[in-house]
């Protein structure tokens, strides 16, 4: 029997269902193969209340990543991580009850061809795919293949994206829309960028798909602030800096629990306000 998570559109249905209960969505990121027992992080993320989990397939030249994710990728590659091994590790996992979304650069997808790549993702139980250097106007080669394989190709929107293009991104993205909060690379920031609110508002005008804000969201306060605009947050560098500093799955569970609480607390307040 096919797991419900594998059915086409499952990532989006899962996120929509959770959003519709008023829950703030949380998608933590981990670089695949970063440690020998790296899949333990996935279990910890699920236990901490993640609504989806992003697994990065490391690439030698990650042009949109800041220093933390670069270091994580280098470290994973140095210990022999590869697309094949990471997907094999994922295949061996029991169902975590949370959709898995893979992110990587387009060279990795193109290397064996989009068909083979998407097939491999599906066989490993992955539901979604993020490719930061594949903008919407170059995505034709992958969108239809991904759709046919049941992989939801998530497109990114940026503060620099003009409104008509944003409509195309909203229309063609699957799973959710990844809103890049600021004009910069991935990495922790002191505060949520002002551009995050405006971008989220502009995306809302063109689609009702879930909108997750990413890039620079590293603290409970920032998650709470992001939640005021978007349906949820992606947290990558803040997780990976802790992993690089030696934090284990239990430490990450505790950290993500603080983000979960920040997102939930806001839900609680919202509901209270709605009832007034």
């Amino acid at each position: 029997m096919t797991s419900p998570i594998l059915a086409a559109g499952a990532v989006e249905r899962h996120l929509r269902a959770r959003r519709d209960t008023g829950r703030g969505l949380l998608m933590p990121y981990v670089t695949g193969g970063i440690t020998p027992g790296w899949t333990d992080y996935l279990r910890a993320f699920a236990e901490a209340g993640a609504d989806a989990i992003e697994v990065g397939l490391p690439f030698s030249d990650p042009t949109l990543d800041g220093v933390t994710i670069q270091q994580a990728g280098d470290m994973a590659l140095a210990r022999g991580a590869s697309t094949r091994r990471i997907l094999a590790d994922l295949s061996g996992l029991p169902d975590l009850g949370v959709p898995l979304v893979v992110s990587t650069y387009y060279n990795v997808v193109l290397h064996d061809g989009p068909d083979t790549f998407c097939d491999a993702l599906r066989r490993a139980g992955v539901g979604g795919l993020i490719v930061p250097d594949l903008p919407v106007h170059e995505a034709d080669e992958l969108t239809d293949v991904a759709a046919a394989t049941g992989i939801e190709l998530v497109l990114l929107a940026s503060p620099a994206t003009p409104q008509p293009r944003l409509a195309e991104i909203g229309g063609r993205s699957r799973g959710f829309v990844y809103a890049v909060s600021l004009m910069g690379t991935t990495g922790e920031r002191a505060a949520l960028a002002a551009s995050a609110a405006e971008l989220t508002e502009r995306i809302r005008r063109v689609t009702d798909r879930p909108v997750l804000l990413g890039f620079g969201i590293s603290t409970p306060d920032q998650a709470r602030e992001a939640r005021r605009h978007a349906d949820g947050v992606v947290v990558g560098a803040a997780v990976m800096r802790r992993v690089l500093d030696g934090a284990g799955p239990n430490d990450l569970r505790a950290f993500l629990a603080t983000l979960r609480q920040a997102l939930d607390h806001d839900d609680f307040r919202r509901r209270a306000l709605d009832q007034e």
Partner: protein
């Protein structure tokens, strides 16, 4: 119905090096594989370049800068003694005689002028050996712009003199400490930096690589090499056009500029790559730094590190138009070893009194080999672009010789 794979239509045999087809395509290659945050910036560069290139005022201003600042036109030098020894008639297009010592200045003056037209106040650049960085620092100083140059830590150690030159010219040189700490990492870092600086900065890409419109734009700024050489050959050669046109290829900008002047002639085009950086000769389809082209990579799709004694050829890929010319068979791409290049540099120094850059020495090494093997028929005419002078390589050569 939406066109699912628009670039998979049959590729017309367009080997004339004109404008790329829709969406920046050279056959199956090229495109704009940029992060969403850079797509709009690339569109602005394309729009500005189209306007500028069609504007006689801009063309005139650039031609004047190339003449009074860079020293163009550069001569076509018959390599007399070497020709006699090789049994072919070899002509050198002397880009080594430009201001700053390499062809890089042609592109940089064009882009710097474009940046001022776009109202940008700063240039961002990547550099390997430092030639493009020095050219960028020079153009920035000339036009009153700031310059930030990204350079791998390993290259900074190897090219200390060029680092000093850039700083003397007022540029900020930022060491890149990640990855292999060479050109490809410097390029990645420059792109990352541009994402956060699109409002006031222009990314001055140094070769015919990167997202559309860069491969096309840089080739157009470099075609002055080929256009001048075409006219000089017409005046100098009985046949008007050389039998062979040869240039070295890292990303491939001096070769693209040279080939552009001869693509519509019967001349045979040869690009010479470093044995350890043979993107066109041995690369595999991929996407890096914004474009779809041929790249050296491993079985997992990780980009391989190039290795060459010539830092300017130390790039694991090749510009998309070269990949296209290769597929069409319009140009061929061959490789030369470090040892062959060093021997060729020495030979040119002793027969013609010219110390070439080690990059350019690769092109010469192939000419020497091909003349010896009979691949170049006796008496045939060969135009070779001498892309840069060898001053920057003297300390490398000193250790070897």
């Amino acid at each position: 119905m939406r066109d699912v794979m628009p670039w998979r239509e049959p590729v017309p045999l367009d080997a004339t090096m004109g404008e790329p087809r829709a969406r920046g395509r050279f056959g199956d290659y090229g495109g704009r594989y940029a992060p969403e945050s850079l797509v709009e910036a690339c569109r602005e560069v394309e729009e500005a370049f189209r306007g500028a290139w069609a504007d006689p005022g801009f063309r005139g201003a650039l031609a004047r800068l190339l003449a009074v600042h860079a020293g163009r036109p550069t001569p076509l030098t018959p390599a007399g003694r070497l020709s006699e020894a090789l049994g072919v008639r070899l002509y050198l297009k002397r880009e080594d005689l430009t201001h700053t010592g390499s062809h890089k200045i042609n592109n940089v003056l064009g882009q710097a002028l474009l940046a001022t037209r776009m109202g940008r106040r700063r240039l961002i650049a990547e550099t390997g050996a430092g030639q493009h960085g020095v050219a960028t620092a020079t153009a920035a100083a000339l036009l009153g712009l700031e310059a930030t140059v990204f350079m791998g830590e390993r290259d900074i150690e190897r090219q200390a003199l060029n680092v000093f030159r850039m700083r003397m010219l007022g540029a900020e040189v930022v060491p890149v400490t990640m990855g292999s700490r060479t050109l490809k990492d410097a390029t990645s870092e420059a792109m990352r930096h541009w994402v956060g600086a699109t409002g006031d900065s222009h990314y001055c890409v140094g070769s015919v690589v990167g997202p559309d419109p860069y491969p096309w734009m840089v080739r157009e700024f470099q075609r002055v090499i080929g256009d001048e050489a075409r006219g000089q050959c017409a005046a100098e050669l009985r046949t008007g056009v050389p039998d062979h046109v040869v240039a070295c290829v890292g990303g491939g900008s001096n070769a693209a500029g040279t080939f552009a002047g001869f693509a519509d002639t019967p001349a045979r085009l040869v690009g010479v790559e470093a044995e350890g950086g043979a993107g066109a000769a041995r690369g595999r389809l991929g996407v890096l730094h914004g474009c779809r082209s041929l790249f050296l990579q491993d079985d997992d799709g990780q980009i391989a590190q190039a290795h060459s004694i010539a830092a300017g050829l130390d790039y694991p890929g090749v510009g998309p138009e070269h990949a296209h010319l290769r597929d069409l068979g319009r140009a061929r791409y061959v490789t030369v070893t470090d040892d062959e290049a060093v021997a060729a540099a020495l030979r040119l120094a002793r027969t013609e009194g010219i110390v070439p850059a080690l990059e350019s020495a690769h092109a010469l090494a192939w000419v020497i080999r091909a003349a010896g093997s009979g691949e170049l028929a006796a008496g045939s005419t060969v135009l070779m672009t001498l892309s840069g002078r060898g001053d920057k390589d003297v300390s490398t050569l000193k250790e070897l010789l």
